[in-house]
Subunit: 315 residues, 2 copies
DNA sequence: TCGATCATGCACCCATTCTGCATCATTATC
DNA sequence: GATAATGATGCAGAATGGGTGCATGATCGA
């Protein structure tokens, strides 16, 4: 919202409301107070001469006209992003504020280095990083609080490919590695297959989480049913369990082992090498903006380096 | 500018500046003071992080980036007009303010009745009519001071057909009639040809005016060179000259004879019936707006009625 | 019935932005 | 070459718009 936004901020507020459904949540996302959001929407209806909202129980709900306006405004936003990107490119300029969002691992492993790189290459740009889950990332993109989000594909309610508000680029395929105690019988191997580990006690995330489904998908692919011994929420915990010899686990290569002792990371070989796809999402039309293009390059280089170096570094 | 404009007003100011070339003229058109325009443009450059203007002598001039932004913003404006029109249509609503512009005859003969009709059919809409020449009409359209302009085709520097900012609809082909003293030898005829009047003393507008070129074009078409006896600026004057028996003249049928005595209006027959085409111009994308569609209908019906009834009324 | 959840109105306050005037730079005129 | 005219801009002051915080009202669940 603080960016050079030529579209009336109240329209952005309406779009955020369309996503959240309540005035309060819209206020939280946009950074306004609830009464400000309420007033903005009322004013918007006045100047446009349209009824956009109706009372619905204790809340409010978009009318058909309101939904129409929100849907149609996608093209308007895209058009503006495109224009801004092109003009910046033509004038060899960059915007003064740049917001980044991403989930925990991405924020630490990818966005923090990116912010550092931009601070040296573009010292005049004020960079802000927000750690947020994928769904909130999309909210923040719509609310124009951030300009680029790093998320795990398929891990949000939003279907980026089809949504006219966003476009995305694959940053990397983040393979899952096996982590096992350093004194494990297979720990000295270069690679293992999931079949070889079928009878091991596994440590995983709680059922229902996105990582758990990644876990089961990996074993389903090779036709093996693993024995789940323990459950953890944070990777730190999971790694600690493994270090204590309580079992083995899967860890995305992007996630660092940290300073943990007694844990070895092994590449998975054989068929069905599980991975999660990590993508960068931006508002549609903005992908050719100089700052975003530069950032995508930095992110991809950084991701590649992590993927190739991590195994060697940690062994 | 007072309309439901979702695009930052400062961008509109920039667009008006691109048309006028000076801060002062932009201020006059937009209704701001010159210092406000100056401040707006400065602020616009700041928030966009682009240099849009450079000093040029005692004035300022758009940079390449500025021209790029203005050109590219055409699509943005069109997109917004389209969206607004569609949303209004979907919700069966109309905007609260409606600005009309047109040249003198159109303002009196077409726009005034239109305003009256709208006042009864849409009492909640605040209608404003501005009399202005065609070029200024386009300026006012860009500045969003008016939403619909009635102009004579080919009578402005702006080539409406090609300009991505406007679209137009033909309202009527306004034929030129002959006016002559009521005691003239041909005054009792139903129609005359220009050939029959070749030797008459003609009263016309000053050379260089658009009506003068219409005049010469009419005679060039039939291969006759008229004798120009007198020149007038206003039609009122021309009609008075004719009434005084000083000669004959051409008058668009849309222009009323008024209360003048001793003047007869005759239809022109034969080949090369001269006429001027009168069109309605709107901002691109807005033509399907309910209020504009309704207005175009009223204007066309009104124009048709005038064309068919005027001769009978006045004889 | 009571509490929780949402939206909204109101009083107040701050920031943005406009106006009017003065000033400065440049160009035209005599 | 002096002087007037034109055009842009900076500054002080004022007004308007838009924001926050709190109180209120309405609806739903327990």
């Amino acid at each position: 919202m603080q960016n050079g936004c030529m579209i009336d901020p109240r329209l952005t507020t309406l779009r955020v409301f369309a996503r959240t459904g309540t005035v309060g949540a819209t206020a939280e996302l946009t950074g306004y107070s609830p009464s400000a959001v309420s007033a903005q929407l009322r004013e918007l209806q006045r100047v446009l001469g349209m009824q956009l909202l109706t009372k619905d129980g204790r809340g409010v709900r978009l009318t058909a006209t309101g939904r129409f306006l929100v849907t149609g405004s996608d093209a308007l936003m895209t058009e503006w992003e495109r224009l801004r990107a092109a003009a910046l490119q033509a004038g060899d300029q960059v915007q003064s504020h740049f917001g980044l969002g991403g989930f925990s691992t991405a924020a630490a492993q990818l966005l923090a280095p990116l912010a550092a790189a931009l601070r040296t290459s573009r010292p005049q740009v004020e960079v802000q990083v927000l750690e947020a889950n994928p769904d909130r990332c999309f909210d923040l993109l719509v609310a124009e609080r951030i300009d680029l989000a790093v998320i795990v594909a398929m891990q949000s309610q939003t279907y980026v490919e089809e949504d006219p508000r966003f476009e995305q680029t694959t940053l990397l395929n983040d393979p899952l590695d096996v982590i096992l105690p350093s004194d494990h019988r297979l720990a000295s191997r270069a690679t293992v297959t999931l079949e070889e580990l079928a009878t091991e006690p596994w440590i995983t995330e709680a059922p229902g989480s996105t990582y758990h489904s990644l876990f089961t998908a990996a074993f389903t692919a090779v036709g093996v049913t693993p024995r789940i011994a323990h459950e953890a929420v944070e990777w730190e915990t999971q790694i600690a369990f493994v270090g204590a010899g309580m079992g083995v686990g899967l860890l995305p290569r992007l996630a660092p082992l940290g300073s943990t002792e007694n844990v070895t990371r092994l590449r998975i070989s054989g068929q069905g090498q599980p991975s999660r796809r990590i993508v960068a999402a931006v508002r549609k039309g903005s992908i050719s903006s100089p700052l975003i293009k530069e950032s995508l390059g930095i992110l991809q280089r950084r991701a590649k380096r992590i993927l190739t170096e991590r195994l060697e570094d940690e062994v």
